[in-house]
């Protein structure tokens, strides 16, 4: 069943009638994702995406009437924290927030409330999750995938697509690809996803895509060394980034020598992870590790 989402997922899209929400909902439906409801306050009773998805005023109503069990959020940054809390309060156990630019103090609050409620939050500022052949939730292009035995976790957006495309081109398929997002406060970390992929019987090998800043990759390396018995390949972006400058993601920053690409690469290598110099090397590293 891979991880997080699949053919059985009953997805609800918050902000489905917005430009982004509608565009990506259509792409998700085309991929085969089961979107059972949309939520836009004040548009309850309408139908979105060419009349294919019923719209509700509140998540509570949508859950009561459709049994939605996952939410994907496309509402603007000023309203996204409230949207996440609404999904959690309505009892949805998996919330995937695509929205970028959410203030850190808001995310702090949301993160801790959702964690206490036992809700799994992916993101924010993330491309989403795709279980190949099952469901695509978020904005990862559907056509770059190929079914196969490799799970992927990444902090990046288009860099993820680049790696997935390279794998698919080389005939190395995927189980589930998870973009955890690049913000300072995210609901799900590398370690959380590594744990899930490690436990997933369909996943035979794992790819980790990191970047400079923070120490998440170092901690993930430590976790790999201790717990993961499947082969892991990794790529870290930002070897040439000058210290002390932010490169887009608020998380991608190097302070005082910690969190450099080199420190991350070394930690991963020490943990037995195969580290690529370029995304294009990932398929070969996986083949070397025995992936068919």
């Amino acid at each position: 069943m891979s991880i997080l989402v699949g053919a059985q997922t009953r997805l609800l899209v918050q902000g489905i009638t917005g430009r982004e929400g509608e565009f990506h909902s259509r792409a998700m439906l085309e991929y085969g994702t089961q979107i059972v409801a949309g939520v836009t306050p004040g548009k309850g009773g309408q139908a979105a995406v060419d009349g294919r998805v019923p719209v509700f005023d509140t998540v509570a109503d949508a859950v009561a009437q459709t049994g939605a069990d996952a939410a994907c959020i496309f509402v603007p940054a000023a309203f996204a924290p409230d949207a996440m809390l609404e999904a959690a309060d309505a009892g949805i156990p998996l919330v995937i927030c695509i929205t970028e630019g959410i203030p850190a103090l808001d995310m702090l609050r949301v993160h801790h409330v959702l964690r206490a409620q036992g809700v799994r939050l992916i993101g924010p500022n993330c491309p989403g999750v795709t279980t190949v052949g099952g469901a695509k939730v978020g904005i990862i292009p559907g056509d770059i995938h190929r079914a196969g035995p490799v799970g992927l976790v990444s902090r990046s957006g288009t860099l993820t697509y680049e790696v997935v495309q390279a794998m698919t081109d080389a005939g190395v398929g995927q189980t589930t690809c998870v973009g955890i997002g690049g913000d300072p406060i995210v609901g799900t970390t590398f370690i959380d996803v590594l744990q899930m992929l490690n436990a997933d019987p369909k996943t035979e090998a794992i790819v980790l895509i990191g970047e400079i800043g923070g120490d998440e990759e170092e901690r993930a390396a430590d976790y790999c060394a201790r717990e993961v018995r499947k082969p892991v390949a990794a790529f870290i972006a930002g070897r040439t980034a000058p210290p002390g400058r932010r490169m887009g993601h608020a998380g991608a920053i190097i302070s005082g020598g910690a969190g450099t690409a080199e420190s991350k690469r070394q930690a991963l290598q020490a943990a037995g992870v195969r580290v690529a110099d370029s995304p294009s090397q990932i398929p070969a590293l996986l083949r070397d590790a025995g992936v068919r």
Binding site: G157, Q165, P184, G244, G248
Partner: protein
């Protein structure tokens, strides 16, 4: 606690000392009266109004201004004017001083460090305190970590009175100052939360010879993502210290950082942009910039990106790498071709467009005599080669 000289679109907004103090004063933090001056005359007048000895301080966002001669004492208004004359126009770490702060010279009995940061690892706000104030806290962290108290705040209920007491006892404050200290820490916390700051620090917080607490220097760094709800703070951003090209980029919605190499980069997505730079380096070249053009790149943004990249005379070639997941590749290709036609300066361009309608895109690019590439590694190699042939 890091020292980040640049504040691109997505990230942090650092405020000058006098602006940081303005905010703290609003929340009840005791800040010495002071006035800014942009010329010696204003400095003399300010010192006259303040009365007594003053300190004249360069207002720049880079660290180490003291060592660079940017902070000087003056006993009289005339001396203040003379010191301002010396400081204004000074170059500190490449930044020209345009403004000084004239403030009463405090007689310092003791110096403390008191800061609040958003701790990403701990996923909460954290109080940082040390009785060794007046030096960079990063320095103390290295030389004497025991001298620093790190006290995480509860993410949902925030600063508690027992934490205020704990910091006061840790700093060994005299009993009679504990009440004022409470007001100071609570004020710092309120300023941090209500401004959506990433960092708010007072360094040094001093006890004067007269036994009063004063925030002698202060720094606030704001969370850029939260500026939309603080229009009153947006105006405090100090544009003059940023690269003009970076200001232009921010206004165009582009995330740009100028570097020293010769290969301009235009990429969608920050991670992919860094990867592109890495591969340029791996191919033997040097990137001239980091540039993330953002999602759904439109023709006008492509044009702005070209202008910003070519504004740098060092740029000898441009590498464009677009993963057209959402955007249609052929549309991006058209945008590039059009924008290129109107450019003043022409350099070789290597364009790689992957994803939706990549084949159509490749045809458009070839028709326009742009160099295309099979893979990202290939694109980087071709860009390096093209730049080399220009130099």
């Amino acid at each position: 606690m890091g020292d980040h000289p640049f504040c691109p679109q997505e990230g942090e907004v650092k405020l000058q000392e006098y602006r940081s103090k303005e905010i703290l004063a609003r929340y009840g933090v005791p800040v010495p009266d002071g006035e800014t001056a942009t010329n010696p005359h204003e400095a003399r007048e300010a010192a006259g109004r303040i009365g007594g000895p003053v300190v004249v301080k360069a207002q720049v966002l880079v660290g180490g201004r003291g060592k660079a001669g940017g902070v000087k004492l003056a006993a009289t208004p005339d001396e203040a004017a003379a010191r301002a004359e010396e400081i204004i126009g000074l170059q500190i770490k490449g930044v020209t001083v345009r403004t000084v702060l004239v403030a009463p010279a405090a007689r310092i009995a003791r110096e403390y460090y008191l800061g609040l940061i958003l701790d990403r690892g701990g996923q909460t706000g954290t109080i940082i305190a040390s009785a060794e104030g007046g030096v960079e806290i990063e320095e103390t962290a290295k030389t004497d970590p025991e001298a620093i108290l790190r006290l995480p705040l509860h993410p949902l209920i925030g600063l508690q009175e027992h934490q205020v007491r704990r910091v006061a006892f840790f700093l060994g404050l005299p009993a009679e100052l504990r009440k004022d200290f409470g007001a100071t820490l609570r004020g710092l916390y309120a300023a941090f939360m209500e401004s959506d700051a990433d960092l708010a620090e007072i360094n040094p917080l001093v006890m004067t010879d007269e036994g009063r607490l004063e925030a002698l220097d202060a720094k606030i760094v704001l969370d850029d993502s939260a500026l939309f709800r603080h229009p009153e703070l947006e105006s405090l951003r100090d544009l003059r210290e940023e690269e003009p090209s970076e200001i232009a980029a921010r206004e165009a919605g582009i995330n740009f950082i100028k570097l020293d190499g010769s290969i301009g980069c235009m990429v969608n997505g920050a991670g992919l942009a860094m990867t592109t730079m890495d591969l340029v380096k791996l191919a033997g070249g040097e990137p001239a910039n980091f540039l993330d053009i953002g999602g759904g790149a439109k023709a006008d943004r492509v044009a702005a990106a070209f202008r910003i990249i070519l504004d740098d005379p060092n740029v000898q070639a441009i590498l464009i790498n677009i993963f057209g997941g959402i955007t249609r590749g052929d549309e991006v290709a058209h945008g590039i071709v059009e924008a290129r036609a109107s450019l003043g300066r022409q350099v070789p361009m290597v364009v790689r467009i992957v994803g939706t309608n990549a084949t159509e895109a490749a045809e458009i690019l070839r028709a326009a005599n742009l160099i295309t590439a099979e893979s990202l590694d290939d694109a980087a190699r071709k860009a390096v080669a093209a730049a080399g042939s220009q130099a």
